[in-house]
């Protein structure tokens, strides 16, 4: 019985099926908000209000022909999308929304799981680089080198800003951090600067404008994704959608006070808070234009990293004051 429960947990809720459905819903929300900000309609016809459009896109890609370039390393080329999907789905299991008991740490909630989530979210970048490298296409090579260059820019501010609330809450376990802020909601305002930095850094991690340099359509055709088509491209896009959900879930846990109230109310909190973070990401996407790769690195190290360090110092001071 416990085995059946584990299998359902992994495959259905909160496993693959739930992540698939919810991430396509979040992609619909993102596209609708982006379109409305630009005075357009967004998806309308597929399903009511266009809700089924991302699923339709996924199914269409699954049905297309899958071409592997001759010079590419076939095994690496084919297995990378699946690994990417597995990595982000595992990160999704660690979010503190699926019925956690604070007293009993288990496989999905333990001290240090915030570090595991951050690590699992950095792996897709490496997977993208390997995908670009194994494609042996000129445009993909340039895209791959840009992916790694961007990694040097945004990782440090992201880590610093996400770890500040953890330091204030005195714990490395996501469920405990969330519980700390649920008990003292006013302390959330102390992390506002960190929240803004984290939103910008997550936008860079997800490779959306202004940071969609690695797969900049008008410059290097498809960038890292140039040679991918059919099922592999469908899995890559799904990986990015789920990564968006998991990253916004992480930000909602750490900066917006988590998901209190048990199974149903906690789920409602989850939906509302992740949609709020995704709204901010869409707003940022519509607001700016793409910047150059050298400007990303200089922007991150001139502005983002010092501000993140400032936030960290403020947190440490506040912690000393509170004691």
């Amino acid at each position: 019985m416990a085995d059946l429960r584990t299998v359902l947990y992994l495959l259905v809720y909160p496993g693959l099926v739930f992540l698939f459905v919810y991430s396509t819903f979040c992609e619909w929300f993102d596209r609708k908000v982006y379109a409305r900000l630009q005075n357009r309609m967004g998806p309308t016809h597929t399903g009511r209000f266009g809700l089924l459009q991302p699923i339709a896109d996924f199914l269409k890609l699954m049905a297309k022909e899958d071409v592997v370039p001759e010079a590419a390393d076939k095994r690496l080329f084919s297995v990378l999308p699946v690994i990417g999907l597995a990595v982000v789905s595992t990160a999704g299991l660690l979010l503190p929304v699926w019925n956690f008991d604070l007293g009993l740490p288990g496989w999905t909630s333990f001290s240090g799981d915030i570090i595991v989530v951050l690590y699992l979210l950095s792996l897709p970048t490496l997977i993208l680089f390997l995908a670009a490298w194994s494609s042996t296409n000129l445009f993909a090579t340039i895209g791959g080198s840009r992916v790694l260059t961007m990694l040097f820019g945004y990782e440090v501010p992201l880590f610093l800003s996400v770890l500040s609330p953890a330091i204030l809450a005195d714990s490395w376990r996501l469920a405990e951090i969330a519980a700390f802020y649920q008990a003292r909601p006013l302390l959330l305002l102390a992390n506002l600067l960190g929240f803004l930095i984290a939103v910008v850094a997550v936008q860079a991690k997800l490779e959306r404008t202004p940071f969609d340099i690695p797969h900049a359509e008008t410059e290097i055709v498809g960038g890292t994704f140039t040679e991918y088509s059919g099922k592999k491209l469908a899995l890559f896009r799904l990986t990015f959608d789920i990564e968006m959900v998991v990253a916004s879930g992480l930000l909602a846990t750490v900066f917006l006070g988590g998901f209190p109230g048990g199974a149903v109310i906690g789920f409602v909190h989850f939906v509302v808070k992740t949609l709020f973070v995704i709204f901010l990401l869409s707003l940022l996407r519509a607001l700016t234009s793409r910047i150059r790769i050298d400007q990303v690195v200089s922007f991150s190290w001139k502005y983002l990293a010092p501000l993140a360090v400032l936030q960290l110092l403020a947190t440490i001071l506040l912690k000393g004051l509170l004691k």
Binding site: L138, I213, A216, E219, T288, S289, R290, R292
Partner: protein, 400 residues
């Protein structure tokens, strides 16, 4: 590590096929090789088989965005050959459509520049406002693209009071929106960071490489056919020549937005001062022998048509020099020492209308990749031999 990146012929940054082979060293470009001819349609040859009226529609279809420029440049030349004096009202309507076309082309270009830079919201907003101009042109001429308002001797359609009021309304809305876009284009940090200091072309280089249009004006070269050699109604209108000093893509944006504001002024003057009278005069079917060079300031620069007549109802020779062809050597210079990330912006900043510029052909052997440059004399000889040995055809043979 130096290798060659092919931009084109098929590339998302290009709206039309052209092959730019860039030799790059890391992210810096060291050399560019431009190859044309993917869109060559033989327009100049077809023009010799059609009569003067049919050629208006043929020259219009050299390009979609600057269609009226080509048609008007041609019609100006033919009217000179036939020694016609079109009535004032017809000329005012013709150049009113010219200025509306300039507005539509510059708004299109602003959107494309935003899209190439990744600034999609700007692209959507400028194209939404461009719909106002397209609706006005549809109301005046019956179609959104390829207005076909010219006829030899004047224009084909008249404007009534309701249409004039709607034009003035539309221009007032557009003027507010254009000033807002100017403000955004100059102040949005991520956008300005992309376009400032990119694609430098100094004043001496612009003059020596024969750059035309806003590309030259952004380097401080004050050249505009409407001011130097005013044709038709331009010596009666009050407008300024817009230049900028920064010699980069930001300067080209500034020049085009300033030209938009000047065009709004001119449109209002023309609508309010529209004289009464006929809209066209009768044109003969045949033209006396002679040759004429007709110049026109298209949205992209100076457009030149050379027409030779030999007394029949068909031209003997039509030669088109579109402005983008004049800007290609300047493009090579601008791309040198730039970044790869700047290629689409620099190329888009010359406002390329590649289908206008299809005049040269290099024959590349398909099997062995060897290249042969065929001179004009050889091409003419080959074409004449083929024409003389083929049976005479009255109508075209359709491939179905």
């Amino acid at each position: 590590m130096s290798f060659e990146i092919p931009i084109g012929p098929q590339h998302p940054a290009l709206k039309e096929p052209i092959s730019l082979r860039m030799t790059v060293d890391g992210e810096v470009i060291t050399g560019v090789d431009i190859r044309l001819g993917y869109n060559h349609r033989g327009v100049e040859k077809v023009a010799e088989e059609k009569n003067w009226t049919q050629n208006i529609y043929l020259t219009e279809r050299i390009c979609g965005i600057c269609s009226h420029s080509h048609a008007t440049c041609y019609v100006q030349g033919v009217e000179k050959l036939m020694e016609l004096a079109p009535p004032k009202r017809g000329l005012y309507i013709r150049y009113l459509v010219s200025e509306l076309e300039r507005v539509h082309s510059h708004l299109l270009w602003l959107g494309v520049a935003g899209h190439e830079a990744g600034f999609d919201s700007f692209f959507m907003y400028t194209w939404r406002d461009r719909e106002i101009v397209m609706d006005l042109l549809e109301m005046i001429s019956g179609n959104r693209v390829h207005y076909a308002i010219n006829t030899i001797g004047g224009v084909r359609r008249d404007l009534d009071e309701g249409q004039k009021a709607r034009i003035l309304e539309g221009v007032a809305t557009l003027r507010k929106r254009s000033e807002y876009y100017f403000h955004i284009g100059a102040n949005e940090p991520s956008f300005v960071g992309r376009i400032a200091g990119v694609g430098m072309l100094s004043k001496e280089q612009a003059v020596s490489l024969c750059a035309v249009g806003p590309v030259a004006r952004a380097s401080g070269v004050a050249r505009d056919v409407r001011k130097e050699d005013p044709y038709a109604v331009y010596d009666e209108l009050d407008f300024e020549l817009c230049t900028a000093d920064t010699c980069d893509v930001l300067g080209r944006v500034v020049v085009r937005v300033k030209e938009l504001l000047e065009s709004y002024k001119m449109i209002e003057q023309m609508v309010k001062g529209l004289p009464d009278g006929d809209i066209a005069c009768k044109a003969p079917r045949k033209a006396k022998p002679g040759e004429v060079v007709s110049r026109y300031e298209a949205p992209r620069g100076e457009n030149i048509h050379y027409i030779k007549a030999n007394g029949t109802d068909k031209p003997e020779r039509l030669k088109v020099r579109a402005p983008t062809l004049g800007n290609y050597p300047a493009t090579v210079e601008m791309l040198r020492n730039g970044f790869i990330a700047d290629i689409p912006l620099i190329f888009a900043a010359i406002d390329p209308c590649i289908c206008c510029a299809e005049r040269t052909v290099t024959l590349v052997g398909a099997r062995n990749g060897e290249e042969r440059l065929v001179t004009l004399g050889d091409l003419r000889r080959l074409a004449i031999e083929r024409h003389q040995s083929a049976p005479p055809k009255r109508n075209a043979v359709w491939p179905i």
